[in-house]
Each structure stands twice: as structure tokens, then as C-alpha cells.
Symmetry: C2
Subunit: 444 residues, 2 copies
């Protein structure tokens, strides 16, 4: 399909292109736009019927949005901004450089301008910043018939009519009613009698992650957003929540791999930006790791007399790091999903302690069989290595379980207490235990 | 609220409890159930009005579902199963032991039993296994008015009426129409004239992850599921997709931390199960790491003559591991979100190569300043360490970027090519480079 459109474009068959495009899903059209040469983009965009143009616009990447706005007329700009859903318009304006924002604002009426400015002031990642204002509001005194007529008149501009919101004269939220309830109810009933007043809502300043949690917990399709006097100001829809869940997961993953989180796609991010996102943590962790240098230097005598000890250091540290990052990953994820809370700290430690004793024993045993029987390493060295293995695994798992919770306690993101951080901490401990054991078992 | 209910329960005030419960959200009631003593659970469950009981039932954890079914009568069981949405019923039956499944199936009619059996046969993680059969189907020949009347008559048992599905006499899917479109359209129009035939659908055997991708891409609220003759057999709703996105993310995270993925909550998983999920990969990685033991042994002479070299091994390996896991995390996530595909392999390598040269140079330089100027390490040793650092970072990043893609090529989950695996591979390389450089620079 895309291929065909691209062919038509190169042959400049405007009529056929239009014919094809109107049959397509706007998401797929947006994808075709990404493939097209930039100088053909605006031409192609103008072929689109007006009612599809805004939809397609909201799905193309930011740089193409910018390119389009730069090349179209003021009237066309106004048309697009008017047709865009309000939350899509805000998303787009937030990302644009000043000259584009100016062009857009110039082409909107004063009320709209005020509203846009208000929305741009909501803190990043707040519920307010992701809500839309195109919802259906009803009054308690309406009958179901009146409500449905109201929806028929106004629904075409709303982002969703699946849930309607009941407000009083001061716009205070009084309840919600689903379109399903409306359709299945007797037409003469009053909205006040069928509304659901056990509402799940969030304040504009609430965190988007909390909003996502509520959507998941209550299986919502949309959620009202209120100001601090409980007046309805907007709604959040589930399609935006799905994006936020992915975004938050990506952010956590980036942090867990010791990078600055970024929302940009990998292939679209420049080399220097990628390097900048990575270098800070690498430097911090490298400099922390130099602590291990001092430890080994301190035990230089031990190492000089039994050089073979050095051979097992990588394996011990590796295993410790892996054991620790298993635990920290489970706890970080549990905290993120709300399965684990701060009050579970003792349960977590107790659980990790028992798991680590089982796992540590097996690893130490297998390792002993291997290095003593297969590789014929000296028995005392073998014991030193395996005892260190056992204690390293225990410490790694307890620390790995504890640190994410500790981070949460002091309001840091638990995700930073993942593999790289745990490894660096466990490494130092492993070396101290290892050399101390060596001194003891080998009588150095 | 929950506290208050618990108090009422301990005071055995049945009437007040009922009064409180009917005002509550079923998700919150399910949460109260989790707090209640098991012997009071069934009593409390019986207090619920029949229409709420099934809803609450679908939100309580599996072990409580099992407990409830064990203690209620056959008639009550039948009532619950009849009232449950079909996908919730399937989820529940899948998790139950044989005696409970028997009790449930005994209390359903034959058609239902056949259907349940059919659903239980869909492969795990397939679209078929998460779909529901309670959707609204319409015919092309209906007018909008007839369609709305049909929905009024049948809608109460449907999981959603927000999107309706148009099928022909052979149940072949012909299009979809949203309730919004129905309400906003002229009542005399034919469904055939307003339906949308550019449908996004999936086959029963399709992967649930692919279904989730389509939901995200097209911002869907529900999606039809068809058999291999394109006959409509069910629909998937977005609330289940939200759970699947979280599930898939958790699975990826577990794999990335070298664990067997599990859907169970951490606190509800037994110590032995946790240990079992962790030990296999730890053993594999530990045994792979013994490769490093042989390398160090091979370079024993080098190490014996310059013992100080051992001091830098942990720091080098650590930094290599961190650099590699940054890259692998970005690529694994990019592949999972569909931002990166196999055809981008060369772009990824080229990008990682450039990023790693920048990052590697900075790390090597900082490290040199620190160990040569601050710690006054011998200049040739310092050069050896820093040159190794530079090459390790480059290799780590290129391997970290490449292996997840390679895994995808051979149909393995890219997530296993995360930090632990990369670290193990990079460690061996680091040691070889390190000692070879030492031989060269130090003239050993």
C-alpha cells in the first residue's frame, strides 16, 4: 500500500493519490509521510481532505510537523490547529521552536491562546499536561433523552463520548455516566438518578504515573481531571495512558542501565546526545570502582605470594553482580507496579536472605566441584574462592533487595539502584571478603 | 473506608456492611476481601448483591477465587460463572486446580462448556487466549435506529458497546462502527453506509504482543479477533492490553536481569520458586565466567612480574560491563517498541562505534589523569590501563548493540542479551586485551 502511494507520488498523480489516501487509516498515512521527500511533503499534505489533515498531522514526527507548519499559509495553520484535539495541539506546541509557536498562536483566537498558555504552564509529567478539554459535560437535571440530544449536537468535536461528566453550575464534578448506561437507560430518567458518584479522578498537578496507576487499577477508559476546588478542567484518555506506561518503563530501563532517561527514539538521537546521556554515569561508576584498586593494592602482599588468587576475581565479581541485579530488578519492578511498598522492607530482606542462602550454597558447591576436582586447584584456595562466593551472593542479594527500597525512602527513583550501582558496591565487598578469607585460610 | 468495613465485619453488622459495599467500587471491595480473614470471606461474599459479586470475584487474587468457589454451593457457582465476563471466566478457570474446574464446568450448560474448552485450547499468550465473546454484532442492512435498538436489547451483557462489529451471514467480519458514529448519524442511515471497513484485526493464533503493538499504533479501545477464515470470534479490550504491556515489560526486565520470567508478584512467590528462577542463569554465567580464570592463568607470568596490574582488573571489567549494558538496553528496548528493526543493524553498529569512541576517549583520559597524576602509577602501566579502557568500551558498546539484534535474527528474545550476558563476554575480551597490551607496553 505504502509502496503504491510512493509510486503515485513520483508520477505526480494527484487525483489518484487523494483517492488512495481517503481510504487509508490516518496512522498509516502518517507513516507514508515519513517516507516521502521533504519537498513533496507539503504538497502531499495539501491533497488530504481537511478533516483528515489534522488527524494525520497529529501522528507525524515532530520534525515533519515543524516542516509542514513552516511551509503552509496562516489560514491552513489555523485550520489544522482548530481541528486538532486539544491535547495533541498542546503536545505539538510544546515541542516547537519559538517562531513556529508564534505562527500558531497568531492564528488562534484569544480564548484559545489563553487556554494554550494555561496548559503550557502545567508541570511536565503532570496530569494537567496530558489532559484534553474536549469532553462531554451534562447536568443532573437533564433527562437521558436530553443528554443524548446534547451529545448528538456537540459530540462531533469531542475526543470521546464514551464517558460523560456531570457538573454543577460552578463546574464542580458531580459524577460520571457511561454512554452505555445512557443508551441502556429509560429515556425519561434523570441523569441525576443514573450517574455514578463514586468517581476516580485526579488533580491537574497530580503525577501522570499516578494517573496511569489508577487507570490500571480500575480498568478505566478515561478519567476526569479537576482543579483544587474539584472543578472539572479536562479528561485523560486511555490511549495517552498507554503511551505513558511505555514511556515510564523506558525511563526506568534507561536509569537501570545507568543512563540519563530520554524519550527520543534511539535511531533519531544524535551521537553526541547519546554520548552525553551515557558518560556521566560511566564516569561516576568508573571513579567509584577505583575504590577496588585501593583494596587490591592494600592486599598486594597476599596477591604476590599467591598470584593464582587473581584468576578468580573476575568470576567472583561477575557472579556477585548478577546475583545482586536479579534482586534489585525484582524489587525495582515490584515498587514500580505497586506490588511492594516501603512497609514490606523486612519481608523483602528476609526473603532475599533465604533465597540467597539457597542460591549461594548451590553456586559455591558447583564451583568447588569444578575448580577443586576438575581444575585441581589447591584445596585451601578452592575453599577460599567458594566461601567468598557464598558470602558475596548473600550480600549481593540483600543489598540488591534493600537499596531500591532505601532509595524510595529518601525519595530517589529506585531504578537507579540497579545492576551497575549494585555491582560497584558488591565488587568492593567481594574483594575485602576474598582477601581476608585468603589471609585466614591460607595462613598468610 | 476499608478500615470501616473491617470494623463492621468484626462487629458482624451484616446490614451495614451491605449498605457500605453497594456504594463502593468493585476494585476497592476486592481489596477489602484481601484483608479479611479467610473464614469470613465467603460470608462477606454472600452479602454482595448478585450483580456485583461476579465483578468483585474477577478482581480478587486467584487463591481467594479458589477459596470462594470451594465453599459456595453449585447454584452460587453457576450464578457467578454466568455473570462473569467470558474472558475473566477463562482467566479464572485456567488458573484453577482440576477439582474446581470440574465444579465450574458441571455448573455451566453444554454450549458454554464447549466454548470454554475451545478457549482453553488457544495457545498461551495468543490473541485468542485474551479475547472475550461479549461484543455487539450488527448487520449491514440494519438502519442506525435498528442498530441502536438492538444494542439496547442486548447491550447489558456485553463487555463493551463502544465499538460494534458488522458481520455477514457467515459471521465474516465486514467492518466496525463506533457507538459515537451511531449516535451522531442520522437514524435512517444504513449501517452499511457508515461502517469503517479499514479494520485493524488479529487472528486468534496471533501473538498478544502483536495485538498490544496494534493497540498502541492505532490508539484502539478494542480490536476484533478472527479465525483463519476471517470470521469474527471475539474481541480484545484495551484494559487487558494495558495489563499485557506491563506483563511483557516485566518479562523483559526479568530476562534482562538473567532470570526466568514470572508473572507472579514478588511477595506472593515462594522462596524456592524465586531461587529456581534465578539459579539456572547464575550457574550458566558463573561457568562461562570461568573462562576468565583460564585467561588470567595463561598470563600468570605477566601478572607475577607486575602484580599491580591485577589492581585495575575490576575497574576495567566494571566499566566495560556498564558501557555494554547501556548499549544493549537501548537496543533491546528499541526492538521491543518497534523503533529499531533488523534492517537497522548497520546504522546501530555505526552509531555505537561513534558513541563509543567519544565515551571511551573521555573515560580513558579521565582515568589516565587520575592514576598517573594523582596515584602516581608507572606511566607505562597507566597507558596500558587506559588503552585497554578505550578498546574495552568500544568493543562493549558494539557487542552490546549487536547481540540483541543477532538474537532477534535467530528468533531468540533480544532481552537475554542484556547486562549479565554482555558483561560475561566483554570481561574475557578485556582481560585478553589488557594482558596483551601489558606484554607490549611493558616489554614483558
Amino acid at each position: 500500500m505504502e509502496k503504491r502511494i510512493l509510486d503515485l507520488i513520483s508520477e505526480n498523480k494527484v487525483h489518484e493519490i487523494r483517492h488512495e489516501l481517503v481510504e487509508m487509516n490516518i496512522v498509516d498515512i502518517a507513516q507514508v509521510f515519513e517516507e516521502v521527500d521533504k519537498h513533496q511533503l507539503v504538497k502531499l499534505f495539501r491533497i488530504l481532505p481537511k478533516d483528515m489533515a489534522a488527524g494525520v498531522f497529529s501522528y507525524v514526527p515532530i520534525e515533519l510537523q515543524q516542516h509542514i507548519i513552516e511551509y503552509i499559509t496562516d489560514v491552513e495553520t489555523k485550520n489544522i490547529v482548530d481541528e486538532l484535539f486539544f491535547d495533541d495541539a498542546i503536545d505539538f506546541i510544546e515541542e516547537m521552536p519559538a517562531n513556529i509557536v508564534k505562527k500558531v498562536l497568531k492564528n488562534t483566537d484569544e480564548n484559545m491562546r489563553k487556554l494554550i498558555n494555561q496548559f503550557l504552564n502545567y508541570p511536565e509529567d503532570s496530569a494537567g499536561s496530558i489532559m484534553t478539554i474536549e469532553y462531554v459535560d451534562l447536568k443532573k437535571e437533564m433527562t437521558v433523552r436530553q443528554a443524548l440530544e446534547h451529545i448528538k449536537r456537540t459530540g462531533v468535536d469531542k475526543e470521546t463520548i464514551n464517558t460523560c461528566y456531570i457538573i454543577d453550575a460552578n463546574r464542580k464534578l458531580e459524577g460520571v455516566v457511561s454512554i452505555r448506561r445512557l443508551i441502556l437507560s429509560d429515556e425519561e430518567k434523570l441523569i441525576g438518578d443514573i450517574l455514578n458518584d463514586d468517581m476516580i479522578f485526579i488533580q491537574t498537578t497530580g503525577d501522570q504515573e499516578s494517573a496511569a496507576m489508577l487507570f490500571k487499577k480500575y480498568d478505566l477508559l478515561s478519567m476526569p481531571v479537576v482543579d483544587n476546588e474539584c472543578r472539572l478542567v479536562g479528561i485523560i484518555t486511555v490511549d495517552d495512558i498507554v503511551d505513558i506506561i511505555d514511556q515510564e518503563n523506558t525511563e526506568d530501563l534507561h536509569k537501570m542501565a545507568a543512563m540519563q532517561p530520554s524519550e527520543e527514539e534511539y535511531l533519531k538521537t544524535g551521537v553526541f546526545t547519546l554520548a552525553r546521556h551515557r558518560i556521566v554515569w560511566l564516569l561516576v561508576l568508573m571513579l567509584s570502582a577505583t575504590f577496588t584498586v585501593s583494596i587490591i593494592k592494600k592486599f598486594n602482599d597476599v596477591l604476590e605470594s599467591v598470584v593464582i588468587l587473581a584468576a578468580f576475581i573476575p568470576m567472583l565479581m561477575n557472579t556477585g553482580g548478577n546475583a545482586g541485579s536479579q534482586s534489585s530488578t525484582l524489587i525495582i519492578r515490584g515498587l514500580a507496579l505497586g506490588d511492594i511498598s516501603l512497609s514490606d522492607t523486612l519481608k523483602v530482606i528476609w526473603k532475599e536472605l533465604r533465597v540467597s542462602i539457597i542460591v549461594g550454597s548451590i553456586l559455591a558447591l558447583v564451583n568447588f566441584l569444578r575448580i577443586y576436582y576438575l581444575e585441581r586447584v589447591d584445596v585451601m584456595v578452592s575453599i577460599t574462592v567458594c566461601a567468598t562466593m557464598f558470602f558475596t551472593v548473600i550480600l549481593a542479594k540483600v543489598v540488591g533487595g534493600l537499596l531500591p527500597i532505601a532509595a524510595k525512602c529518601v525519595k530517589l527513583d529506585p531504578a537507579i539502584m540497579a545492576s551497575p550501582m549494585i555491582t560497584t558496591i558488591v565488587d568492593a565487598f567481594t574483594l575485602i571478603v576474598y582477601f581476608s578469607m585468603a589471609v585466614w585460610f591460607l595462613g598468610l
